[in-house]
Amino acid sequence: MSAPLLAVDDIHAAYQSGVDILQGMSLAVPVGGFVLVIGPNGAGKSTLLKTVFGLLSPHRGGISFDGRAIAGLAPHEIKRLGVSYVPQELNTFPHLTVEENLRVGGWTIRNDAARLRARIARVYEIFPVLAERRRDKAGGLSGGQGRMLSVAREMITEPRLMLVDEPTVGLAPNLAEQVYELLQTARQSIPTTILLVDQNVSDALRHAEDVVMMNLGRVKAAGPVVEFGEARVRELIQECLLG
């Protein structure tokens, strides 16, 4: 196997010193891969993504992206290296228009107006609804459209790695399926690599290649999806919940 795009190595991270949420978490994401992280509520899945993106810095362990140590860098520096992060919460600017939201998403390429225009046009091609509503305030979008905008905004820079946190929470099943297809689209069209956190295990498993099961801030089990099967994954989740 070639060197991974993202390698998280035994990291410990806390919001308040003394209370480690990540307690020796490790994982590797291969170039072009689709890795799914699952685990019970409070396992530290969101914290893992925040730490990779630099919103939280690990006090122990290392993170490398494309062979470069990134632990301790600020989020805007990590973004510049080609990492995008779609948070669990809706990530739009409600009082800006859809188009302004996308322009903010293109901040790092703002000095190349032609490229920015082309990228926004491409996003509109993939999401015609956003094109229709380009002049509307993002706050007026439906839940599904807001999700779309959150993801689309992070595609503008054509990142090499996308960190995506529970993108289908609160969505109707058909919309949820659209979001997974959208991630697949991003993966193939950019092309990019995906690290997805999801509770919607059975659907997400159909799209992922590898699965990492997290509990109490570290890995409980990990491997290719084909070797796990949904039944086995459910068993593991049960075990975590029972302690």
Partner: protein, 297 residues
């Protein structure tokens, strides 16, 4: 007794001073909307602006170039604001947001005391006046002090520039976005602490500009920012914390109420009328005229 002429004159002078108060309020509200903190040392940035204006006019440029001193004073306060954000506030904002605004309160209150003492130490408790050789201007049939008219015109120009920056520049887009979601701008690859720095610089420069513009009217001394700051906060309460249009509307409203109160009730209580309006607003609409939500605890 209530001549039309007096009403018109009161209206004009109230609007003119109101726009200057609005500069102060805009600075407070703008910094809050980006950084979610109150800068309690706002009056001291006003004070620095007024001293810079006085020093430039008295020692360097001469009274004829007073208009050139104004943007230089404001720019000086802007640069000082950048230094304050970088040295005192950024270290707090780098950590997770726990009790961040409490720290910011303590830091800016300490800065207030430091800057006042420094002004007294350096220039003494004396009052200075950059004077104004601007002639009395006729606004329609009414005579107005030249310095006040000039201050009003400068303030309007500054407000227009501020609007254009926010509305049409990339930096303005980043500022507007930051006021809506700090995480959102970070995912976009914007250095949010850099945005804070610019926002703090602009916010205090608005106070510095007000100080420079009002120096000939309200004079220059270590605590001269106090009254204007109190008015700035009154406006923020009336207009709604974090609302830019609210600051402008409430600023003019406060100026009008003061002038009319002074002209038709009693000028001795000029500083009380605005306060009465604050109480009224707090009773009727505690989030202010255009404030949408209460402050999250």
């Amino acid at each position: 007794m209530f001549s039309t002429e007096l009403v018109v004159q009161t209206f004009i002078s109230g609007t003119m001073i109101g726009v200057l108060y609005a500069l102060m309020a805009l600075g407070i509200t703008f910094i809050y909307s980006i950084m979610r903190m109150i800068n309690w040392a706002m009056g001291e940035f006003y004070m620095i602006g007024s001293y810079l204006q006085y020093a430039l006019v008295a020692l360097l440029l001469g009274p004829d170039l007073w208009w050139l001193a104004i943007p230089i004073s404001a720019a000086g306060v802007f640069l000082f604001g950048l230094v304050v954000q970088w040295s005192l506030l950024k270290p707090i904002f780098r950590k997770p947001p726990e009790a961040r605004d409490d720290y910011a309160t303590v830091v800016t209150l300490a800065l207030l005391l430091l800057l006042r003492s420094l002004a007294t130490g350096l220039a003494g408790p004396n009052q200075f006046s950059p004077g104004s050789d601007l002639p009395v201007v006729m606004v329609g049939p009414l005579p107005m002090a030249g310095a006040r008219v000039a201050a009003f015109v400068f303030a309007l120009v500054a407000l227009v520039l501020f609007y254009l920056l926010l509305r049409y520049s990339w930096y303005g887009l980043a500022l507007r976005a930051t006021s809506q979601s700090r995480v959102g701008v970070q995912t976009a690859g914007i250095d949010v602490l850099g945005v804070d720095r610019i926002a703090f610089g602009i916010g205090v420069a608005l106070a510095g500009l007000a100080g420079a513009l009002l120096a000939p009217v309200f004079l220059v001394y270590p605590t001269n920012g106090l009254i204007t700051t109190v008015k700035g906060f009154e406006i923020v309460v009336i207009g709604g914390l974090g609302s830019i249009p609210g600051a402008l509307i409430a600023g003019v409203l406060l100026g009008l109420i003061e002038s009319f109160g002074a002209a038709f009730i009693d000028s001795a209580y000029q500083n009380i009328y605005g306060f009465a309006l604050v109480l009224l607003i707090l009773a009727l609409k505690p989030t202010g005229l255009l404030g949408e939500r209460g402050r999250e605890a």
